[in-house]
Protein backbone atom coordinates (compact mmCIF):
# COMPACT_ATOMS: atom_id res chain seq x y z
CA UNK A 1 0.00 0.00 0.00
CA UNK A 2 1.21 3.47 -0.82
CA UNK A 3 2.85 5.52 1.91
CA UNK A 4 1.83 2.84 4.36
CA UNK A 5 4.53 3.43 6.88
CA UNK A 6 4.04 7.16 7.16
CA UNK A 7 0.43 8.09 6.69
CA UNK A 8 -1.60 4.93 7.21
CA UNK A 9 -2.89 4.76 10.78
CA UNK A 10 -3.27 1.74 13.04
CA UNK A 11 -6.90 1.06 13.80
CA UNK A 12 -7.81 1.26 17.47
CA UNK A 13 -11.16 0.53 19.06
CA UNK A 14 -12.45 2.75 21.81
CA UNK A 15 -12.72 0.61 24.94
CA UNK A 16 -14.06 3.23 27.31
CA UNK A 17 -14.78 6.95 27.44
CA UNK A 18 -14.52 8.97 30.62
CA UNK A 19 -16.05 12.39 31.07
CA UNK A 20 -13.43 14.70 32.60
CA UNK A 21 -15.12 18.11 32.33
CA UNK A 22 -18.09 19.42 30.36
CA UNK A 23 -15.91 19.76 27.24
CA UNK A 24 -13.11 17.23 27.82
CA UNK A 25 -13.09 13.45 27.72
CA UNK A 26 -10.49 10.75 28.10
CA UNK A 27 -10.53 7.99 25.49
CA UNK A 28 -9.13 4.59 26.41
CA UNK A 29 -8.07 2.94 23.17
CA UNK A 30 -7.59 -0.77 22.71
CA UNK A 31 -3.93 -0.98 21.84
CA UNK A 32 -3.36 -4.69 21.31
CA UNK A 33 -2.17 -4.34 17.75
CA UNK A 34 -0.01 -1.31 18.45
CA UNK A 35 3.57 -2.46 18.80
CA UNK A 36 4.77 0.76 20.47
CA UNK A 37 2.12 0.52 23.20
CA UNK A 38 4.72 0.44 25.97
CA UNK A 39 7.60 1.82 23.95
CA UNK A 40 6.86 5.53 23.90
CA UNK A 41 8.12 8.30 26.14
CA UNK A 42 6.25 10.84 28.22
CA UNK A 43 5.96 14.03 26.16
CA UNK A 44 5.39 12.27 22.86
CA UNK A 45 2.16 12.58 20.91
CA UNK A 46 0.04 10.72 18.35
CA UNK A 47 -1.94 11.76 15.31
CA UNK A 48 -5.51 10.65 15.96
CA UNK A 49 -7.77 9.98 12.97
CA UNK A 50 -11.47 10.42 13.21
CA UNK A 51 -12.13 8.96 9.78
CA UNK A 52 -14.17 11.07 7.44
CA UNK A 53 -13.18 14.23 9.32
CA UNK A 54 -9.41 14.18 9.64
CA UNK A 55 -6.44 13.90 11.93
CA UNK A 56 -5.22 15.95 14.86
CA UNK A 57 -2.32 15.69 17.32
CA UNK A 58 -2.84 14.69 20.96
CA UNK A 59 -0.31 13.98 23.63
CA UNK A 60 -0.05 10.48 25.05
CA UNK A 61 -1.70 11.24 28.36
CA UNK A 62 -0.71 8.17 30.35
CA UNK A 63 2.72 6.90 31.37
CA UNK A 64 3.99 4.01 29.22
CA UNK A 65 4.43 2.11 32.48
CA UNK A 66 0.64 2.04 32.90
CA UNK A 67 -0.60 1.71 29.36
CA UNK A 68 -3.05 -1.14 29.21
CA UNK A 69 -4.78 1.29 26.91
CA UNK A 70 -3.58 4.24 24.90
CA UNK A 71 -5.10 7.15 26.77
CA UNK A 72 -5.89 10.47 25.13
CA UNK A 73 -7.60 13.36 26.85
CA UNK A 74 -9.35 15.51 24.29
CA UNK A 75 -11.00 18.87 24.55
CA UNK A 76 -13.80 19.69 22.13
CA UNK A 77 -12.65 22.61 19.94
CA UNK A 78 -13.10 22.01 16.20
CA UNK A 79 -14.02 19.51 13.51
CA UNK A 80 -12.09 16.41 14.59
CA UNK A 81 -12.61 16.87 18.30
CA UNK A 82 -16.35 17.58 17.99
CA UNK A 83 -16.91 14.44 15.96
CA UNK A 84 -14.79 12.40 18.37
CA UNK A 85 -17.01 13.54 21.21
CA UNK A 86 -19.93 11.72 19.54
CA UNK A 87 -17.92 8.46 19.58
CA UNK A 88 -18.60 5.71 22.11
CA UNK A 89 -17.05 2.41 23.15
CA UNK A 90 -16.83 0.13 20.11
CA UNK A 91 -16.19 2.91 17.59
CA UNK A 92 -12.89 2.83 15.76
CA UNK A 93 -10.30 5.58 15.39
CA UNK A 94 -6.85 5.69 13.79
CA UNK A 95 -3.51 6.22 15.47
CA UNK A 96 -0.11 7.15 14.07
CA UNK A 97 2.88 7.63 16.29
CA UNK A 98 4.48 7.91 18.70
CA UNK A 99 5.88 11.20 17.43
CA UNK A 100 8.13 13.94 18.70
CA UNK A 101 10.88 14.09 21.28
CA UNK A 102 10.23 13.45 24.95
CA UNK A 103 10.48 15.10 28.32
CA UNK A 104 14.08 14.94 29.57
CA UNK A 105 13.22 12.30 32.16
CA UNK A 106 16.82 11.07 32.28
CA UNK A 107 18.08 14.55 33.11
CA UNK A 108 15.39 14.73 35.78
CA UNK A 109 16.94 11.87 37.79
CA UNK A 110 18.15 12.90 41.21
CA UNK A 111 16.44 16.27 41.07
CA UNK A 112 13.47 17.97 42.63
CA UNK A 113 10.65 18.08 40.13
CA UNK A 114 8.13 20.89 40.02
CA UNK A 115 5.11 20.48 37.75
CA UNK A 116 2.87 23.44 36.98
CA UNK A 117 -0.23 22.64 34.95
CA UNK A 118 -3.16 24.71 33.82
CA UNK A 119 -6.49 23.28 32.63
CA UNK A 120 -6.01 20.94 29.66
CA UNK A 121 -2.23 21.30 30.18
CA UNK A 122 -2.29 18.52 32.76
CA UNK A 123 -2.48 15.52 30.34
CA UNK A 124 1.10 15.77 28.99
CA UNK A 125 2.43 16.38 32.50
CA UNK A 126 0.41 13.49 33.92
CA UNK A 127 2.19 11.08 31.62
CA UNK A 128 5.51 12.14 33.14
CA UNK A 129 4.17 12.42 36.70
CA UNK A 130 2.95 8.82 36.67
CA UNK A 131 6.20 7.73 35.05
CA UNK A 132 8.11 9.41 37.89
CA UNK A 133 5.82 7.83 40.51
CA UNK A 134 6.58 4.43 38.99
CA UNK A 135 10.33 5.13 39.30
CA UNK A 136 9.95 7.13 42.49
CA UNK A 137 13.34 6.42 44.05
CA UNK A 138 15.13 7.95 41.06
CA UNK A 139 13.85 11.42 41.92
CA UNK A 140 13.80 13.73 44.94
CA UNK A 141 10.85 15.95 45.93
CA UNK A 142 7.93 15.92 43.52
CA UNK A 143 5.54 18.87 43.63
CA UNK A 144 2.50 19.32 41.40
CA UNK A 145 0.67 22.64 41.14
CA UNK A 146 -2.56 22.50 39.18
CA UNK A 147 -4.91 25.32 38.31
CA UNK A 148 -8.29 25.13 36.59
CA UNK A 149 -10.96 27.71 35.89
CA UNK A 150 -13.57 26.10 38.15
CA UNK A 151 -13.74 22.88 40.19
CA UNK A 152 -15.75 21.33 37.35
CA UNK A 153 -12.93 22.10 34.86
CA UNK A 154 -10.40 19.92 36.69
CA UNK A 155 -9.36 16.87 34.66
CA UNK A 156 -8.50 13.49 36.26
CA UNK A 157 -10.52 14.22 39.43
CA UNK A 158 -10.04 10.71 40.86
CA UNK A 159 -6.34 10.74 40.22
CA UNK A 160 -6.00 14.20 41.79
CA UNK A 161 -7.71 12.83 44.89
CA UNK A 162 -5.24 9.92 44.98
CA UNK A 163 -2.28 12.23 44.52
CA UNK A 164 -3.49 14.48 47.32
CA UNK A 165 -3.43 11.49 49.69
CA UNK A 166 -0.14 10.10 48.42
CA UNK A 167 3.08 10.62 50.39
CA UNK A 168 5.01 10.31 47.12
CA UNK A 169 4.22 13.83 45.96
CA UNK A 170 2.86 17.18 47.11
CA UNK A 171 -0.20 18.35 45.20
CA UNK A 172 -1.49 21.89 45.50
CA UNK A 173 -4.57 22.86 43.56
CA UNK A 174 -6.23 26.14 42.84
CA UNK A 175 -9.24 27.32 40.82
CA UNK A 176 -9.96 30.74 39.36
CA UNK A 177 -13.51 30.64 40.71
CA UNK A 178 -14.60 28.33 43.52
CA UNK A 179 -18.05 26.96 44.32
CA UNK A 180 -19.90 25.78 47.47
CA UNK A 181 -17.95 22.53 47.66
CA UNK A 182 -14.49 23.94 46.97
CA UNK A 183 -12.29 24.23 50.06
CA UNK A 184 -8.93 24.67 48.33
CA UNK A 185 -7.09 27.70 47.00
CA UNK A 186 -8.79 30.27 44.81
CA UNK A 187 -6.73 32.31 42.34
CA UNK A 188 -4.47 31.81 39.35
CA UNK A 189 -1.78 29.14 39.51
CA UNK A 190 1.06 31.69 39.51
CA UNK A 191 -0.06 32.74 42.99
CA UNK A 192 0.93 29.32 44.30
CA UNK A 193 4.43 29.95 43.02
CA UNK A 194 4.80 33.35 44.64
CA UNK A 195 6.68 33.05 47.88
CA UNK A 196 7.48 29.39 47.36
CA UNK A 197 10.97 28.38 48.42
CA UNK A 198 12.67 26.08 45.99
CA UNK A 199 16.19 24.72 45.80
CA UNK A 200 16.51 26.41 42.41
CA UNK A 201 19.75 24.73 41.34
CA UNK A 202 18.37 21.26 42.08
CA UNK A 203 14.95 21.81 40.51
CA UNK A 204 13.65 20.96 37.08
CA UNK A 205 10.29 22.58 36.30
CA UNK A 206 7.74 21.31 33.79
CA UNK A 207 4.84 23.50 32.76
CA UNK A 208 1.98 23.10 30.27
CA UNK A 209 -1.17 25.12 29.88
CA UNK A 210 -2.76 27.97 27.96
CA UNK A 211 -0.25 30.44 26.42
CA UNK A 212 -1.20 33.31 28.76
CA UNK A 213 -0.69 31.14 31.81
CA UNK A 214 2.67 29.94 30.49
CA UNK A 215 3.96 33.48 30.10
CA UNK A 216 3.29 34.28 33.76
CA UNK A 217 4.35 30.89 35.12
CA UNK A 218 7.66 30.95 33.28
CA UNK A 219 8.41 34.47 34.50
CA UNK A 220 7.66 33.34 38.05
CA UNK A 221 9.81 30.20 37.80
CA UNK A 222 12.72 32.24 36.52
CA UNK A 223 12.14 34.76 39.33
CA UNK A 224 12.48 31.84 41.77
CA UNK A 225 15.98 31.38 40.42
CA UNK A 226 15.37 28.38 38.16
CA UNK A 227 17.51 28.62 35.02
CA UNK A 228 15.55 28.93 31.74
CA UNK A 229 17.21 25.71 30.57
CA UNK A 230 15.57 23.97 33.55
CA UNK A 231 12.10 25.21 32.68
CA UNK A 232 10.52 22.74 30.27
CA UNK A 233 7.30 23.02 28.26
CA UNK A 234 5.63 21.68 25.12
CA UNK A 235 5.04 23.90 22.09
CA UNK A 236 1.74 23.60 20.34
CA UNK A 237 1.53 24.24 16.62
CA UNK A 238 -0.89 23.42 13.87
CA UNK A 239 0.19 19.97 12.71
CA UNK A 240 -0.84 17.71 9.87
CA UNK A 241 1.70 14.96 9.30
CA UNK A 242 3.68 14.60 12.52
CA UNK A 243 6.68 13.34 10.56
CA UNK A 244 8.43 16.50 9.38
CA UNK A 245 6.95 16.57 5.90
CA UNK A 246 3.88 18.80 5.63
CA UNK A 247 5.65 21.95 6.82
CA UNK A 248 2.82 23.25 8.98
CA UNK A 249 4.54 23.07 12.35
CA UNK A 250 7.82 24.80 11.44
CA UNK A 251 9.13 27.50 13.72
CA UNK A 252 12.38 28.92 12.41
CA UNK A 253 14.23 25.84 11.20
CA UNK A 254 12.62 23.54 13.78
CA UNK A 255 9.96 21.02 12.90
CA UNK A 256 8.03 21.02 16.16
CA UNK A 257 6.57 17.59 15.35
CA UNK A 258 10.02 15.99 15.12
CA UNK A 259 12.42 18.28 17.01
CA UNK A 260 9.76 19.10 19.63
CA UNK A 261 7.19 19.42 21.07
CA UNK A 262 9.27 19.45 24.27
CA UNK A 263 11.55 22.48 24.63
CA UNK A 264 13.18 24.35 27.48
CA UNK A 265 13.04 28.13 27.66
CA UNK A 266 16.68 28.57 26.80
CA UNK A 267 15.94 26.87 23.46
CA UNK A 268 12.69 28.77 22.99
CA UNK A 269 14.39 32.13 23.55
CA UNK A 270 16.73 31.33 20.69
CA UNK A 271 14.07 30.43 18.13
CA UNK A 272 14.09 33.02 15.33
CA UNK A 273 10.31 33.34 15.48
CA UNK A 274 8.16 33.75 18.55
CA UNK A 275 6.68 30.31 19.25
Amino acid sequence: MSARSLYLPHLAEIARVEEETPDTRTYFLEANGVEWRRAYHPGQFVELSVFGVGEAPFCLAQSPTRSDFIELTVRRTGAVTNRLHTYRAGDVVGLRGPFGNAFPFERARGRNLLFVGGGIGLPPLRSLINYVLDHRTDYRDVTVLYGARTPADRVYKNELAEWSRSPALTLVETVDRGDDTWTGHVGVVTRLLKGMTVDAAATLAFTCGPPVMLTFVVAELIALGIAPSNVVTTLERYMKCGVGKCGHCCVGHHYICVDGPVYNYDQIRRLPEAP
Binding site: M1, S2, A3, R4, S5, L6, Y7, L8, P9, L11, V50, F51, G52, V53, G54, E55, A56, T77, G78, T81, Y87, D91, V92, V93, G94, P211, E236, R237, Y238, K240, C241, V243, G244, K245, C246, G247, H248, C250, V251, G252, H253, Y255, V258, P272, E273, A274, P275
Partner: protein
Protein backbone atom coordinates in the same frame (compact mmCIF):
# COMPACT_ATOMS: atom_id res chain seq x y z
CA UNK B 1 30.48 5.59 -20.28
CA UNK B 2 32.13 7.94 -22.77
CA UNK B 3 29.92 10.67 -24.26
CA UNK B 4 27.68 9.48 -27.09
CA UNK B 5 25.70 11.29 -29.74
CA UNK B 6 22.30 10.69 -31.23
CA UNK B 7 20.77 12.35 -34.28
CA UNK B 8 17.86 14.59 -33.42
CA UNK B 9 15.84 12.87 -36.15
CA UNK B 10 15.99 9.50 -34.35
CA UNK B 11 15.29 10.82 -30.87
CA UNK B 12 11.68 9.53 -31.06
CA UNK B 13 13.02 6.03 -31.68
CA UNK B 14 15.08 6.31 -28.51
CA UNK B 15 12.06 7.41 -26.49
CA UNK B 16 10.03 4.59 -28.06
CA UNK B 17 12.71 2.10 -26.97
CA UNK B 18 12.38 3.35 -23.39
CA UNK B 19 8.62 3.00 -23.41
CA UNK B 20 8.86 -0.72 -22.63
CA UNK B 21 10.40 -0.22 -19.20
CA UNK B 22 9.28 3.29 -18.43
CA UNK B 23 6.40 5.70 -18.59
CA UNK B 24 8.05 8.26 -20.88
CA UNK B 25 7.30 11.91 -20.26
CA UNK B 26 8.54 14.83 -22.36
CA UNK B 27 7.83 18.54 -22.68
CA UNK B 28 4.95 19.41 -24.97
CA UNK B 29 3.84 22.77 -26.23
CA UNK B 30 0.20 23.32 -25.31
CA UNK B 31 -0.20 26.81 -26.73
CA UNK B 32 1.94 29.90 -27.22
CA UNK B 33 5.04 29.63 -25.08
CA UNK B 34 3.35 27.31 -22.59
CA UNK B 35 5.03 23.96 -22.30
CA UNK B 36 4.07 21.16 -19.93
CA UNK B 37 5.29 17.64 -19.17
CA UNK B 38 3.00 15.09 -20.76
CA UNK B 39 3.10 11.43 -21.65
CA UNK B 40 5.17 11.12 -24.77
CA UNK B 41 3.66 9.66 -27.94
CA UNK B 42 5.46 9.47 -31.25
CA UNK B 43 2.97 11.72 -33.04
CA UNK B 44 3.98 14.72 -30.95
CA UNK B 45 7.29 16.33 -31.89
CA UNK B 46 9.86 16.54 -29.09
CA UNK B 47 10.38 20.19 -28.28
CA UNK B 48 14.04 21.11 -27.73
CA UNK B 49 13.62 24.88 -27.78
CA UNK B 50 11.35 25.59 -24.84
CA UNK B 51 12.61 27.66 -21.91
CA UNK B 52 10.93 25.62 -19.21
CA UNK B 53 7.61 24.08 -18.29
CA UNK B 54 4.86 26.10 -16.62
CA UNK B 55 4.56 23.72 -13.66
CA UNK B 56 7.72 22.07 -12.34
CA UNK B 57 8.25 18.32 -12.74
CA UNK B 58 7.62 17.89 -9.01
CA UNK B 59 3.97 17.32 -9.98
CA UNK B 60 4.98 13.98 -11.47
CA UNK B 61 6.47 12.78 -8.19
CA UNK B 62 4.48 14.78 -5.66
CA UNK B 63 1.10 15.38 -7.33
CA UNK B 64 -0.96 18.44 -6.48
CA UNK B 65 -3.62 16.08 -5.15
CA UNK B 66 -3.38 12.40 -4.37
CA UNK B 67 -5.27 9.81 -2.40
CA UNK B 68 -3.34 8.26 0.47
CA UNK B 69 -6.04 5.67 1.20
CA UNK B 70 -9.77 5.05 0.97
CA UNK B 71 -12.04 4.95 3.99
CA UNK B 72 -15.32 3.12 4.23
CA UNK B 73 -17.73 3.10 7.15
CA UNK B 74 -15.75 5.74 9.07
CA UNK B 75 -16.89 4.77 12.57
CA UNK B 76 -15.67 1.22 12.09
CA UNK B 77 -13.06 2.07 9.52
CA UNK B 78 -12.24 -0.18 6.64
CA UNK B 79 -9.14 1.23 4.95
CA UNK B 80 -7.83 0.28 1.54
CA UNK B 81 -4.91 1.18 -0.69
CA UNK B 82 -4.91 4.59 -2.30
CA UNK B 83 -3.63 3.68 -5.70
CA UNK B 84 -1.58 1.65 -8.09
CA UNK B 85 0.56 0.03 -5.35
CA UNK B 86 3.60 -0.26 -7.57
CA UNK B 87 1.55 -1.13 -10.65
CA UNK B 88 2.78 1.82 -12.69
CA UNK B 89 6.07 1.87 -14.52
CA UNK B 90 8.88 4.12 -13.32
CA UNK B 91 9.11 7.49 -15.02
CA UNK B 92 11.59 8.41 -17.72
CA UNK B 93 11.67 12.18 -18.07
CA UNK B 94 13.22 13.63 -21.15
CA UNK B 95 14.05 17.33 -21.32
CA UNK B 96 14.33 18.05 -17.64
CA UNK B 97 16.00 21.43 -17.14
CA UNK B 98 19.07 21.62 -14.91
CA UNK B 99 17.29 23.79 -12.36
CA UNK B 100 14.49 21.25 -12.08
CA UNK B 101 16.84 18.27 -11.81
CA UNK B 102 18.48 20.12 -8.92
CA UNK B 103 15.04 20.79 -7.45
CA UNK B 104 14.15 17.12 -7.72
CA UNK B 105 17.30 16.11 -5.86
CA UNK B 106 16.35 18.65 -3.22
CA UNK B 107 12.89 17.11 -2.86
CA UNK B 108 14.42 13.64 -2.59
CA UNK B 109 16.61 14.77 0.26
CA UNK B 110 13.68 16.52 1.92
CA UNK B 111 11.28 13.58 1.76
CA UNK B 112 13.98 11.25 3.12
CA UNK B 113 14.86 13.54 6.01
CA UNK B 114 14.18 14.04 9.71
CA UNK B 115 14.02 10.33 10.47
CA UNK B 116 10.97 9.53 8.35
CA UNK B 117 11.02 8.40 4.73
CA UNK B 118 8.06 9.19 2.52
CA UNK B 119 8.42 5.93 0.65
CA UNK B 120 5.85 6.68 -2.07
CA UNK B 121 7.49 9.88 -3.20
CA UNK B 122 11.01 8.51 -2.77
CA UNK B 123 10.21 5.42 -4.82
CA UNK B 124 8.91 7.59 -7.65
CA UNK B 125 11.99 9.79 -7.62
CA UNK B 126 14.54 7.02 -7.15
CA UNK B 127 13.12 4.78 -9.85
CA UNK B 128 12.97 7.57 -12.42
CA UNK B 129 15.34 7.93 -15.36
CA UNK B 130 16.27 11.60 -15.50
CA UNK B 131 17.35 12.89 -18.88
CA UNK B 132 18.20 16.54 -18.62
CA UNK B 133 18.58 18.98 -21.48
CA UNK B 134 21.32 21.56 -20.92
CA UNK B 135 20.19 25.12 -21.56
CA UNK B 136 21.82 27.22 -24.27
CA UNK B 137 20.45 30.59 -23.31
CA UNK B 138 18.70 31.93 -20.26
CA UNK B 139 15.00 32.60 -20.25
CA UNK B 140 13.93 36.10 -19.20
CA UNK B 141 13.47 35.08 -15.56
CA UNK B 142 16.18 32.41 -15.20
CA UNK B 143 18.96 32.78 -12.63
CA UNK B 144 20.08 29.18 -12.06
CA UNK B 145 23.66 30.28 -12.43
CA UNK B 146 23.32 32.29 -9.20
CA UNK B 147 21.99 29.19 -7.45
CA UNK B 148 24.52 26.56 -8.56
CA UNK B 149 21.72 24.78 -10.38
CA UNK B 150 22.36 25.32 -14.10
CA UNK B 151 22.37 26.07 -16.97
CA UNK B 152 24.15 22.71 -17.30
CA UNK B 153 25.09 20.20 -14.65
CA UNK B 154 28.10 18.18 -13.65
CA UNK B 155 26.07 15.72 -11.52
CA UNK B 156 22.53 14.91 -10.46
CA UNK B 157 21.17 13.31 -13.65
CA UNK B 158 21.24 9.96 -15.39
CA UNK B 159 21.84 11.40 -18.85
CA UNK B 160 22.47 15.03 -19.73
CA UNK B 161 21.72 15.91 -23.34
CA UNK B 162 23.29 18.91 -25.05
CA UNK B 163 21.88 20.13 -28.34
CA UNK B 164 24.67 20.37 -30.93
CA UNK B 165 22.44 21.27 -33.89
CA UNK B 166 21.50 18.17 -35.86
CA UNK B 167 22.62 15.89 -33.04
CA UNK B 168 22.46 15.65 -29.27
CA UNK B 169 25.43 14.80 -27.13
CA UNK B 170 24.62 12.41 -24.28
CA UNK B 171 26.70 12.70 -21.13
CA UNK B 172 25.90 9.49 -19.23
CA UNK B 173 26.60 9.34 -15.50
CA UNK B 174 24.78 6.37 -13.99
CA UNK B 175 24.23 2.69 -14.58
CA UNK B 176 20.57 3.44 -15.14
CA UNK B 177 21.55 5.88 -17.88
CA UNK B 178 23.97 3.38 -19.42
CA UNK B 179 21.29 0.70 -19.47
CA UNK B 180 18.88 3.06 -21.19
CA UNK B 181 21.40 3.80 -23.92
CA UNK B 182 22.36 0.15 -24.23
CA UNK B 183 18.72 -0.68 -24.90
CA UNK B 184 18.87 1.51 -28.01
CA UNK B 185 22.57 1.20 -28.77
CA UNK B 186 22.13 1.24 -32.55
CA UNK B 187 20.86 4.83 -32.31
CA UNK B 188 23.96 6.12 -30.54
CA UNK B 189 27.51 6.59 -31.72
CA UNK B 190 30.58 7.44 -29.74
CA UNK B 191 31.13 11.20 -29.72
CA UNK B 192 33.94 12.24 -32.08
CA UNK B 193 36.72 14.66 -31.09
CA UNK B 194 34.84 17.24 -33.17
CA UNK B 195 31.63 16.62 -31.21
CA UNK B 196 33.48 16.98 -27.93
CA UNK B 197 35.06 20.17 -29.15
CA UNK B 198 31.70 21.60 -30.20
CA UNK B 199 30.25 20.59 -26.84
CA UNK B 200 33.04 22.24 -24.89
CA UNK B 201 32.76 25.43 -26.95
CA UNK B 202 29.04 25.48 -26.36
CA UNK B 203 29.40 25.18 -22.59
CA UNK B 204 31.93 28.00 -22.50
CA UNK B 205 29.68 30.19 -24.61
CA UNK B 206 26.63 29.41 -22.49
CA UNK B 207 28.51 30.29 -19.33
CA UNK B 208 29.32 33.68 -20.75
CA UNK B 209 25.69 34.32 -21.65
CA UNK B 210 24.48 34.04 -18.06
CA UNK B 211 24.84 36.99 -15.75
CA UNK B 212 26.20 36.16 -12.29
CA UNK B 213 24.69 38.39 -9.66
CA UNK B 214 25.61 38.62 -6.00
CA UNK B 215 22.13 39.18 -4.60
CA UNK B 216 21.66 35.59 -3.43
CA UNK B 217 24.61 35.54 -1.04
CA UNK B 218 23.81 38.98 0.32
CA UNK B 219 20.15 38.04 0.79
CA UNK B 220 21.04 34.82 2.59
CA UNK B 221 23.25 36.67 5.03
CA UNK B 222 20.72 39.37 5.82
CA UNK B 223 17.80 36.96 6.13
CA UNK B 224 19.71 34.49 8.32
CA UNK B 225 20.91 37.16 10.67
CA UNK B 226 17.54 38.88 10.88
CA UNK B 227 19.01 42.09 9.46
CA UNK B 228 15.97 43.17 7.51
CA UNK B 229 13.87 45.79 9.30
CA UNK B 230 10.35 44.68 10.21
CA UNK B 231 8.92 47.78 8.44
CA UNK B 232 10.43 46.50 5.20
CA UNK B 233 8.69 43.15 5.48
CA UNK B 234 5.44 44.88 6.33
CA UNK B 235 5.77 47.26 3.41
CA UNK B 236 6.63 44.50 0.93
CA UNK B 237 3.93 42.17 2.23
CA UNK B 238 1.24 44.71 1.34
CA UNK B 239 1.65 43.50 -2.24
CA UNK B 240 1.13 39.81 -1.39
CA UNK B 241 -2.28 38.63 -2.57
CA UNK B 242 -1.94 35.38 -0.62
CA UNK B 243 -2.50 33.33 -3.77
CA UNK B 244 0.20 30.76 -2.98
CA UNK B 245 1.28 30.72 -6.63
CA UNK B 246 4.95 31.11 -5.76
CA UNK B 247 4.81 27.89 -3.75
CA UNK B 248 2.86 25.84 -6.27
CA UNK B 249 5.17 26.64 -9.17
CA UNK B 250 8.32 26.14 -7.13
CA UNK B 251 10.27 22.93 -7.83
CA UNK B 252 11.45 22.72 -4.22
CA UNK B 253 8.32 23.72 -2.29
CA UNK B 254 6.86 20.68 -0.55
CA UNK B 255 4.23 21.75 1.96
CA UNK B 256 0.95 19.89 1.94
CA UNK B 257 -2.28 19.50 3.82
CA UNK B 258 -4.39 16.40 4.35
CA UNK B 259 -8.17 16.20 4.15
CA UNK B 260 -10.84 13.51 4.19
CA UNK B 261 -12.87 14.11 1.05
CA UNK B 262 -16.27 12.44 0.59
CA UNK B 263 -16.04 9.90 -2.24
CA UNK B 264 -19.36 8.11 -1.99
CA UNK B 265 -21.94 6.76 0.38
CA UNK B 266 -20.27 6.80 3.81
CA UNK B 267 -16.92 6.67 2.00
CA UNK B 268 -14.01 9.09 1.96
CA UNK B 269 -10.61 9.52 0.41
CA UNK B 270 -7.85 10.73 2.64
CA UNK B 271 -6.07 13.10 0.30
CA UNK B 272 -2.86 15.00 0.40
CA UNK B 273 -2.81 18.32 -1.44
CA UNK B 274 -0.23 21.01 -2.00
CA UNK B 275 -0.49 23.78 0.55
CA UNK B 276 1.21 27.17 0.76
CA UNK B 277 2.84 28.91 3.71
CA UNK B 278 1.54 32.23 2.37
CA UNK B 279 -2.04 31.19 3.13
CA UNK B 280 -3.54 32.77 6.20
CA UNK B 281 -4.90 29.43 7.44
CA UNK B 282 -1.58 27.61 7.17
CA UNK B 283 -0.82 27.98 10.88
CA UNK B 284 -4.25 28.85 12.30
CA UNK B 285 -5.10 26.65 15.26
CA UNK B 286 -8.45 25.41 16.49
CA UNK B 287 -8.52 28.06 19.21
CA UNK B 288 -8.35 30.75 16.51
CA UNK B 289 -4.82 31.61 17.60
CA UNK B 290 -2.54 32.13 14.60
CA UNK B 291 1.18 32.60 15.19
CA UNK B 292 1.58 33.91 11.64
CA UNK B 293 -1.58 35.93 11.31
CA UNK B 294 0.25 38.86 9.68
CA UNK B 295 1.17 38.68 5.99
CA UNK B 296 4.60 40.08 6.79
CA UNK B 297 5.31 37.10 9.05
CA UNK B 298 4.31 34.68 6.32
CA UNK B 299 6.45 36.39 3.70
CA UNK B 300 9.38 36.44 6.10
CA UNK B 301 8.76 32.75 6.73
CA UNK B 302 8.97 31.85 3.04
CA UNK B 303 12.23 33.70 2.60
CA UNK B 304 13.70 32.29 5.81
CA UNK B 305 12.81 28.79 4.70
CA UNK B 306 14.23 29.24 1.22
CA UNK B 307 17.36 31.20 2.02
CA UNK B 308 18.59 30.99 5.61
CA UNK B 309 21.85 29.40 6.72
CA UNK B 310 19.78 27.47 9.27
CA UNK B 311 18.08 25.53 6.45
CA UNK B 312 21.20 25.42 4.27
CA UNK B 313 22.90 23.59 7.15
CA UNK B 314 20.26 20.86 6.98
CA UNK B 315 19.68 20.66 3.23
CA UNK B 316 23.20 21.31 1.97
CA UNK B 317 22.07 24.16 -0.27
CA UNK B 318 19.52 26.94 -0.25
CA UNK B 319 15.98 26.18 -1.31
CA UNK B 320 15.94 28.10 -4.59
CA UNK B 321 17.24 26.68 -7.84
CA UNK B 322 16.70 29.85 -9.85
CA UNK B 323 14.10 28.48 -12.24
CA UNK B 324 12.37 31.85 -12.30
CA UNK B 325 8.84 30.47 -12.13
CA UNK B 326 7.87 32.56 -9.13
CA UNK B 327 9.20 35.62 -11.00
CA UNK B 328 6.72 34.93 -13.75
CA UNK B 329 3.93 34.10 -11.31
CA UNK B 330 3.99 36.72 -8.57
CA UNK B 331 2.02 39.82 -9.46
CA UNK B 332 3.31 41.65 -6.40
CA UNK B 333 7.02 41.47 -7.16
CA UNK B 334 7.59 39.25 -4.12
CA UNK B 335 9.37 36.49 -6.00
CA UNK B 336 12.82 35.38 -4.89
CA UNK B 337 14.74 37.25 -7.56
CA UNK B 338 12.97 40.59 -7.25
CA UNK B 339 12.75 40.63 -3.48
CA UNK B 340 16.34 39.51 -2.95
CA UNK B 341 17.41 42.28 -5.29
CA UNK B 342 15.44 44.74 -3.17
CA UNK B 343 16.98 43.29 -0.01
CA UNK B 344 20.38 43.72 -1.62
CA UNK B 345 19.68 47.30 -2.70
CA UNK B 346 17.55 48.60 0.17
CA UNK B 347 18.85 46.83 3.30
CA UNK B 348 22.59 47.25 3.57
Amino acid sequence: MRPMTILESVLPSFLAALAGDYRVVAPQRVGGADVVYADWTDDVPVDLDFVNTVVPPKMLFFPARETLFHIEDPRHATLSAGQEAGATKPLAIFGLRSCDATGLAFLEKFFAGRGFEDDTILARIRSALTMTLACREPGADCFCVCCEAGPWLTAGFDIQFSDLGDRLLADVRTEKGEAAIAAASSLFTLATPEDLDAWSRQLTKVDATFERRSFMAAGTRRISLGRIPQEKWEHWAEDCRGCGGCCFVCPTCSCFTVTDRPSGDDAFDRERQWDACLYEGFTREASGHNPRAAKAERLKRRFFHKMSYQYIDVMGRHGCVGCGRCVATCMGGLDISTLLTRIHDECP
